[in-house]
Amino acid sequence: MKSIIINRYFLKKLGFTIAVSSILFNISTAQITEKRTTTIQLSFYKKANISKTIVGTVKAKNEEGKFLPAINAKVNFYLVNNNAQTFLKAAYTNKAGKANIILPENLPLDTGHCFTIAAKIENDKVFEDAVEELRYKEANLELKLAPYDTSRIAKAVLKTIGKNGEVIPVQDVEIKFYVKRLFGFMPAAEDYTLATDENGEASFTYPKDIMGDTAGILTVVARIDDNELFGNMEYQAVTAWGTVLLKEKEPFPRALWEPYAPLPLIITIAVLFGGVWFTYLIIFYSLYKIKKEKSDEQIEFEAIIKQ
């Protein structure tokens, strides 16, 4: 991943100059000296022609000189084309110091069929100004499956645009093959990385014993991670290559260590505490009867009235 720190040296020099000037001219430099040195790192994520996301990770130096995630920093994103900058969107960093935006679908490309994104921190009260630029080539990753083929071969195809605008395959790019699971991606095999050939293709044979859902369906994933030219790319496809998950009749037998408690325990607790609470109910009923009890005078009075 590229990381460019621009203007830091310049800003330090500027800060020093201003500090010296302020001493000379008795001007307060508190605001400038208090600003924190900041860095930005940019990453690009392309998800199977669905979305293109650019993520800026901002870090700032603390008092001890350590770079920590900068929270709530405003990051302005620009599209750079022929030295002209077009403002795209601004985003604030989260607790992890990350700010991201989704790029427009039809991003204008330069002559090399690339796009350049610049992320800037500008005129922030807390953080020093910082800039990071990133240039990626437009490419397309596709995962082709043969659903009725029992061989379970997934063919990942990576193509880009050539000098003359034609679509050309990309060779020698590492593609990783995964299976999607509930909390992330599971490598499909021990050796799950393949490089594309001269046709831009990488064919991976998925093992037969991967567990699917109750219909044997699973999601297979092809990914390119941190490529210098193309960034991060991902393609997901759903197929019935998994083994069928059979529902157990009683997946969790009643036990102390399982979600369902043993019946004798439930019965014991219910009987013991149920008995106590039933006794309380008797007491509450007695209290109710005490409340409703008439005095001797009232009883006598009512008897006289009846007579």
Binding site: P259, A261, I266, I290, E293, K294
Partner: protein, 488 residues
């Protein structure tokens, strides 16, 4: 012999007056006391809000010691709550007449210590808003779940157990409060009327009350025992050195009864002095309670010996490290001071009659109560600092623990809360069960009367025998025993 001038009605009236007098006076000292308590509680609430906003990181607790002062205090308060059960229920069930003036304060101590004891684990939670999840998704297998169930059950039971014998006294307060000039008096009248639940003292009401009290007296004892047993299970059912013990249940129950009884004695001494109840809470009460505490201390000492001696004989790896730390390590001073102060010293003092005077027993009980609190701390904290997997690669302060100002402030506020509830209660309701004391007077009166008549009969029989021996004419007229009509 019964004094002929003895007037039972007058005596009963004196009892009522003595018991109701504190409820009519809210002196300057009371107001200052309540003000101080409110300041402490206010500060505690501020600290708790600070803890809620910033998280448990503001306390001294870290990953290893996640149960610190809060949980130690919880166990201590639950232990103190056993006082009401012991003094009131057990003495009631065994028909100990001397219990009458002290049952109310014992039952009150149970109620308040449970109220605030129940709050302590909630304070210990970083996210108390998730407490409801424990009820919704709670596992019946978990001792924590049993704890919630048993503490709730005990709290309801002890509230009812406190309330039932109060009904006739509240009705008396209601009937005596005839002039309501101030708004506070009107509030009191309203409160008494609501809480007396229409008590008129009819035969049926007395019958229902006595029946309910008998049932509650029987049921509350096993419930109380279950509560502290279950509290001990939270520790004993966890695989940790020092907690993995089979005697933890009875050990906790014995410790609770012993510290609870000491708490009752302190309550007795305080109310006796503050509300001038020396006539009712006598030196004999302290002597008898001292004997009970002595017996409980011996039981506690026996279990205490078992708790430490058996693992100390084996010195198994992890258990050994903990015991080394307790016996001659960083906790040794605290541990041996506790053993001396809360086990040996009470036995030595309470064994001799001079040790059971009001002053001596009060000092001993203060030591016992403070010691019981520290003892809970020694049970909880050193074990957490000696896990099976050694503490390593963590910041240095994670491997030690001492409560910080936030924890002390919040715990202090809870203690102040206990004192506040007791103070307000004693200023609204009589601190002795008036009707029970009156009943005691009547029983004593009848007993004295019966002795008097028996002595007269024996005297007259002796005269007859002497006359018989002298061959004189025998008078057969013997004064019959008249049944005493008890009117309240």
């Amino acid at each position: 012999m019964i004094n002929e001038k003895y007037d039972l009605k007058k005596e009963i009236e004196i009892v009522r007056e003595d018991c109701l007098r504190p409820t009519r006076r809210w002196g300057r000292s009371t107001q200052i006391w309540i003000g101080c308590l409110l300041i402490m509680i206010g500060w505690g609430i501020y600290c708790y809000i600070h803890q809620l906003r910033q998280g448990l990181g503001v306390t001294a607790m870290r990953n290893y010691v996640s149960w610190g002062l809060y949980i130690s205090t919880f166990v201590f308060f639950i232990g103190i709550s056993h006082s009401g059960t012991l003094v009131s229920a057990i003495l009631r069930i065994t028909k100990q007449e001397w219990r009458r003036p002290i049952t109310r304060s014992a039952e009150l101590l149970t109620f308040v210590s449970l109220l605030f004891g129940g709050i302590m684990p909630i304070i210990d939670l970083g996210r108390p808003d998730r407490l409801v999840n424990l009820v919704i998704f709670g596992r019946v297998q978990s001792p924590l779940m049993w704890d919630i169930i048993s503490i709730c059950t005990y709290f309801v039971g002890s509230s009812v157990f406190l309330f039932l014998p109060m009904i006739p006294d509240i009705a008396l307060c209601r009937d005596r409060l005839t002039v309501c000039e101030t708004r506070f008096d009107k509030f009191r009248k309203w409160l008494y009327t609501k809480m007396a639940i229409g008590w008129k003292g009819t035969k049926t009401q007395w019958h229902l009350l006595e029946k309910s009290m008998t049932i509650m007296t029987i049921i509350i004892i096993p419930v109380a025992v279950s509560v502290h047993t279950v509290v001990s299970y939270i520790f004993a059912m966890t695989l940790r050195p020092g907690w993995d013990s089979t005697v933890f249940g009875p050990y906790f129950v014995a410790g609770a009864l012993y510290s609870g009884s000491a708490g009752v004695i302190l309550g007795m001494a305080a109310f006796r002095k503050l509300y001038h109840l020396e006539k009712y809470i006598t030196k004999r009460h302290f002597d008898l309670m001292g004997r009970i505490v002595l017996a409980l201390t011996l039981i506690y000492a026996y279990l205490n010996l078992n708790e430490y001696w058996i693992p100390a004989y084996k010195m198994a790896t992890s258990e050994g490290h903990l015991l080394e730390d307790l016996f001659y390590g960083s906790y040794s001073k605290l541990f041996w001071t506790l053993q001396f102060g809360t086990v040996l010293l009470p036995i030595l003092i309470l064994s001799i009659p001079k040790g059971r005077t009001v002053l001596m027993i009060s000092i001993t009980c203060i030591i016992i109560v403070i010691g019981a609190w520290v003892k809970r701390y020694v049970i909880v904290v050193p074990t957490l600092l000696h896990p099976f997997m050694p503490i390593q690669e963590v910041p240095k302060d994670w491997s030690t623990y001492f409560p910080n100002w936030v924890e002390f402030s919040i715990t202090g506020a809870c203690l102040a809360g206990i004192f506040l509830v007791i103070t307000l209660f004693s200023k609204l309701f009589p601190m002795m069960a008036i009707w029970e004391v009156e009943e005691g007077l009547l029983i004593e009166h009848d007993r004295q009367l019966a002795i008097d008549i028996r002595l007269k009969r024996e005297a007259s029989e002796r005269v007859i025998n002497i006359e018989k021996l002298n061959g004189e004419k025998v008078s057969t007229e013997v004064e019959p025993i008249k049944p005493t009509v008890i009117t309240s």
